[in-house]
């Protein structure tokens, strides 16, 4: 039994056995993980989960200025975690108390690159409308179990002390967009980068206020040390300007740059780079416009404003209040369907973003990546459907 108490090591004999074809054949059709998870959530053969080890408050937030609190969560992943490259993000699934429903969101990893099975950190701002971020910052406790994906994303550092280049590096970040850049700088410094190779790192960050600045102490230490890393912090109305950037990094268009921040910052920086291929950007979901005001009663088909995008087929149409199945069919698409009355689930599709209304219940929902039955769901504003 002792072999099972500690999580099976990925390369060890237990891990190899759990991932073997024999184990898969013996546990068909459910799979090994469906058995392991019933006994200990930290036992896994393929899936990734993590236990919260500690929660550290970075900022408390300020209701007056509208800034939300930030916390850093240290996670112990299952042995199935393959590690991450600096700059990558991970999908985090949590079962929110009271609803029992699992919500999944992407968060950048803030700690330096991790090896398989190694602990890492997420630094998260509790957005007002973000149920998941709010829960993780305010309510997650040591011991809380999170469902994870493997690390993903290509917004990563192309170099490390092991594979150095002579290029300079520039990070431009805003708000909680600092996290992937922080992971990269931490990785460089941890792995012995000291700037004597003649490559400079410039870190330009925009925050709401000094109180709202996360990693303030660490950034001050990094700035003070003789390591070739320059840190420039800008607060409040000090917006990004091309003029200032040119002063800091004259040849910025020819400098490898990583940009992560709110849409306003991204817009200004993108304009300054004017299509330069040196600029790399990280953004999660494109924001979809507000739910349109619908008129008429919810039981009747009501007129709505909005645009329906069927993202897989690349078609768009104006929302009419008809079911998404009917709207897709009007466009000549042929999605699978069955009962057309919401009972058989044949037409289930993923709404990746936007607001929809269940025509049976009148209930509206704006959750991203939500499974919907398109025969009984209508657009209630702009929405993106994976179809």
């Amino acid at each position: 039994m002792s072999a099972l108490i500690s999580p099976p090591a990925p390369g060890g004999p237990v891990g190899r056995l759990l991932r073997s074809r024999l184990a898969a054949a013996l546990t068909t059709p459910h799979g090994v993980d469906r058995y392991l998870e019933r006994f200990n959530p930290m036992w896994a053969a393929h899936e990734v989960r993590a236990r919260v080890v500690s929660v550290h408050r970075e900022t408390t937030g300020d209701a007056a200025t509208g800034s939300a609190p930030v916390a850093t969560l240290t996670l112990q992943p299952t042995s199935t975690w393959r590690g991450h490259r600096a700059g990558q993000h991970v999908l985090v699934g949590v079962e929110l108390p009271g609803s029992a429903k699992r919500h999944t969101r992407a968060f950048s990893i803030s700690s330096a690159a991790s090896a398989p099975g190694e602990q890492f950190t997420l630094t998260i701002r509790a957005h007002d409308e973000g149920q998941v971020s709010s829960y993780l910052v305010r309510e997650a406790q040591p011991g809380t179990i999170l469902h994870l994906s493997q690390a993903q994303g290509e917004f990563t550092l192309v170099e490390s002390p092991a594979t150095p280049t002579i290029s300079r590096l520039l990070f431009i970040t805003g708000g909680s967009g600092i996290t992937p850049a922080m992971s990269m700088v931490r990785t460089l410094l941890r792995d012995g980068y000291d700037g004597h190779a003649g490559r400079r790192v410039t870190f330009l960050h925009f925050a709401r206020s000094p109180e709202d600045q996360i990693f303030a102490d660490e950034l001050a230490r990094i700035a003070a040390a003789d390591n070739g890393v320059e840190v420039h912090l800008r607060y409040g109305d000090q917006l990004f300007s091309e003029f200032e950037l040119r002063r800091l990094v004259p040849d910025y268009k020819e400098t490898d740059t990583w940009l992560c921040g709110p849409p306003g910052l991204v817009e200004l920086v993108t304009a300054a780079y004017d299509g330069s291929s040196r600029l790399r950007m990280e953004f999660f979901k494109p924001a979809v416009a507000r739910a349109a005001v619908s008129t008429g009663s919810t039981t009747e088909r009501s007129a709505v404003e909005g645009e329906v995008s069927f993202t897989r087929s690349g078609t768009t149409t104006a929302a009419t209040g008809a079911s998404l199945l009917e709207q897709a069919e009007e466009l000549g698409l042929k999605p699978e369907f069955g009962c057309r009355m919401g009972i058989c689930f044949s037409c289930t599709r993923t709404k990746t973003a936007g607001t929809v209304r269940n025509v049976l219940t009148g209930e509206e929902s704006s959750l991203p990546d939500e499974e919907i039955r398109i025969c009984v769901t209508a657009a209630a504003g702009d929405c993106h459907i994976d179809l």
């Binding site: 019933r38 699992r102 058989c344 044949s346 289930t348």
Partner: protein
């Protein structure tokens, strides 16, 4: 409705407005339960799954105990398979727990421990059977294409074998369910081409191979010299599950008093009519809490057919209101103990092996009017 006369007979004299009102009441009940779904439902499902997994592991392990372990092993494995197929598999694949957002309990990802691929079953069950319930000629679960269970099905000397076919279907139920989607009867009658089945074969063969490998090769082989005993034990567990599932499912739509419908009667159906057809076309089984769990709460077939996508554990509480609604509208609520319902089904299987049979069941009015005794005569 263009068929007012039919409405009178079949729908117990309810007017179109009354039927709409009935639909609205059932919609309201549905809304109430839907709004209340949450942690209790998740905890319940996870508890049942944990129990099932433990029983399965215990069952597989007990085969290592020669002689004394065999019977308990078969018992554990039988119960495990019944829970897997009914309270877990059937209900999860109905999408009842999709609201959890847990991939382990998602109707599009779940598959059950039988030779029938969940993907194929969901089409014939969730769509065809649940949408066209008891419409003779449309619902392929009326007699499963093998039996004559309704006077509207034209008699043929083939049906003299009705009881034998039913017995064979019971014994090999999981295979019957798996082959059901190939619609052999429609191929014989020329309504479906053999080529239409081609896309189904790979998935079906893969599932059969995996199930057979697990139960009849790998687990027996792992017990070494006890191979034959483990092999036989696994076969018996599958058989026990087959017999139990068949019996529960045949009590769902075949006891006396359950109405069937024609394609013409159900044209231009409203939501209220659809609800009414589900109520009149299904029958419940009375029993203990354990019986309900072991039947996947399909002992509440009426509630299941009204609300197929709501977690089945809610059916007992909903049944109280559904029964009250039936009483108020003068509708029958077909229920009985397991042995009563089974006896009723058995008589029907035998009766319809012969030509004829009552075309119409006399409408019965009043609270609790339909009982096994009043209709069996």
């Amino acid at each position: 409705m263009s068929t007012d006369t039919l409405t009178d007979e079949k729908y117990h004299g309810l007017t179109a407005e009354q039927i709409d009102q009935l639909g609205a009441e059932l919609d309201a009940l549905r809304q109430r339960v839907l709004a209340d779904l949450g942690e209790d439902d998740a905890a319940y499902l996870r508890k049942v799954v944990t129990t099932q997994r433990k029983l399965e592991i215990a069952g597989r392990a007990l085969f290592y105990l020669p002689v004394v372990g065999w019977l308990p092993a078969v018992a554990c494995l039988s119960v495990s398979k019944i829970l897997d197929n009914m309270e877990i598999g059937h209900n999860v694949m109905h999408g009842q727990y999709d609201f959890l957002g847990d991939p382990a309990f998602n109707s599009r990802m779940f598959d059950w421990d039988t030779v029938c691929p969940g993907e194929q079953w969901k089409y014939s069950h969730n769509y065809i059977h649940h949408t066209f319930t008891n419409i003779v000629g449309k619902d392929r679960d009326v007699g499963y294409g093998i039996l004559r269970m309704d006077p509207e099905q034209k008699w043929h000397p083939y049906y003299l074998g009705n009881p034998l076919y039913a017995f064979l279907l019971m014994t090999f139920f999981e295979w019957g369910v798996a082959l059901h989607d190939l619609e052999v009867e429609n191929i014989v009658s020329g309504k479906r081409k053999l080529a239409d089945n081609k896309p189904l074969y790979p998935g079906l063969m893969r599932k059969i191979r995996r199930q057979a490998l697990k139960d009849y090769v790998l687990f027996p082989a792992l017990t070494g010299p006890l191979f034959p005993l483990t092999f036989a034990g696994n076969a018996v567990a599958n058989l026990v599950r087959n017999v139990w599932a068949f019996n529960i499912i045949f009590c769902g739509h075949f006891p006396a008093g359950v109405a069937s419908f024609s394609v013409e009667e159900t044209e231009n159906e409203t939501r209220g009519h659809w609800y009414l057809r589900q109520m009149l076309g299904s029958a419940n089984i009375k029993g203990s809490k354990l019986m309900h769990v072991m039947s996947g709460n399909l002992s509440h077939q009426i509630e299941h057919h009204l609300f197929p996508d709501l977690p089945a554990r809610r059916y007992p509480e909903m049944a109280v209101e559904v029964q009250e609604i039936c009483e108020r509208y003068g509708l029958p609520y077909n229920t009985g103990r397991l042995h009563q319902q089974l006896w009723s089904v058995f008589k029907k299987i035998c009766r319809y092996s012969l030509p004829g049979g009552d075309a119409k069941v006399a409408p019965v009015r009043g609270p609790g009017a339909v009982t096994e005794d009043s209709l069996a005569a």
